[in-house]
């Protein structure tokens, strides 16, 4: 498969993988760790959405599904497709507990991307496409235009019934 096309498709798949799992696990609902609330309030102050801000704060402060997606892709690339993802899932679980995060978003994200990498390997996707794709996906959320991304994440949280009750 063409490398550029593969990276773009992998970026779209990783984006949906981590955003849907994180929203489903309730990242926009409440700040799971203390630092996430400060980042969420700062984004709200700059004209963003509070639920989207909590989502972004939780990504920064603890390894969640985005970290699980990236680290499982790296481990699949260097160790091997199913077993690398499982090792990454265990290490992400330890990382969650080190950050005092009670959730399972990181582990779920790592396991789901391992299944996706395994299934898409039959149609020519390589794990390295997912490594670069995930960095591009996190760039669209946190790098380029944070307040706009937070509003989009807030709308998605509202649709999935995970909007924050804190105001």
């Amino acid at each position: 498969m063409n490398e550029i096309l593969g990276i773009i498709l992998a970026a779209i798949i990783s984006w949906f993988n981590f955003v849907l799992i994180d929203t489903w696990m309730g990242l926009p609902e409440s700040p799971g760790v203390k630092g996430a609330e400060i980042i969420g309030r700062s984004i709200q102050k700059r004209g963003g959405n509070l639920a989207g801000g909590f989502f972004q704060g939780n990504i920064v402060c603890s390894p969640d599904a985005s970290a699980g997606t990236l680290l499982a892709s790296i481990a699949c690339f260097t160790i091997g497709t199913p077993e690398g993802g499982l090792i990454a899932a265990v290490l992400v679980y330890f990382g969650n507990r080190l950050c005092a995060d009670p959730g399972y978003a990181g582990t779920t994200g790592a396991l789901s991307i391992t299944a996706i990498i395994y299934l898409t390997s039959f149609i020519g996707f390589k794990p390295e496409f997912f490594i670069v794709g995930m960095v591009l996906a996190i760039l669209t959320i946190q790098g380029l235009y944070q307040t706009g991304a937070s509003r989009l994440l807030g709308k998605l949280a509202q649709k999935m019934g995970r909007y924050t009750k804190i105001s």
């Binding site: 920064v60 603890s62 680290l71 790296i74 260097t78 080190l98 950050c99 490594i131 995930m134």
Partner: protein, 82 residues
């Protein structure tokens, strides 16, 4: 090719960090650099130990981001040197 794309992302984010208005915005941009750096480590050291290094780097960088974000809430009344 893959490492070059990641390198360009790191440079863009480094410039974006310099232009950021406040510390919270800067922390989010630094998180993207953390993602890119661990991806570069994984792609450059193509051995199983490379993956362990990348994962350890990433988890410890989120741990320090966690500590920084927590302490940012406490230094709001800090006097800035102009």
């Amino acid at each position: 090719m893959l490492i070059e794309i990641l390198g360009i992302i790191v440079i863009i984010m480094a410039l974006r960090t310099l232009l950021a208005q406040n510390r919270e915005e800067r922390l989010l941009c630094l998180n993207v650099i953390g993602f890119s750096m661990s991806a570069i480590i994984g792609l450059y050291i193509q051995t199983p130990f490379g993956a362990i290094i990348a994962i350890t780097f990433f988890v410890t960088s989120t741990l320090s981001s966690n500590a920084i974000a927590y302490s940012l809430g406490r230094v709001k009344e800090e006097i800035m040197v102009k």
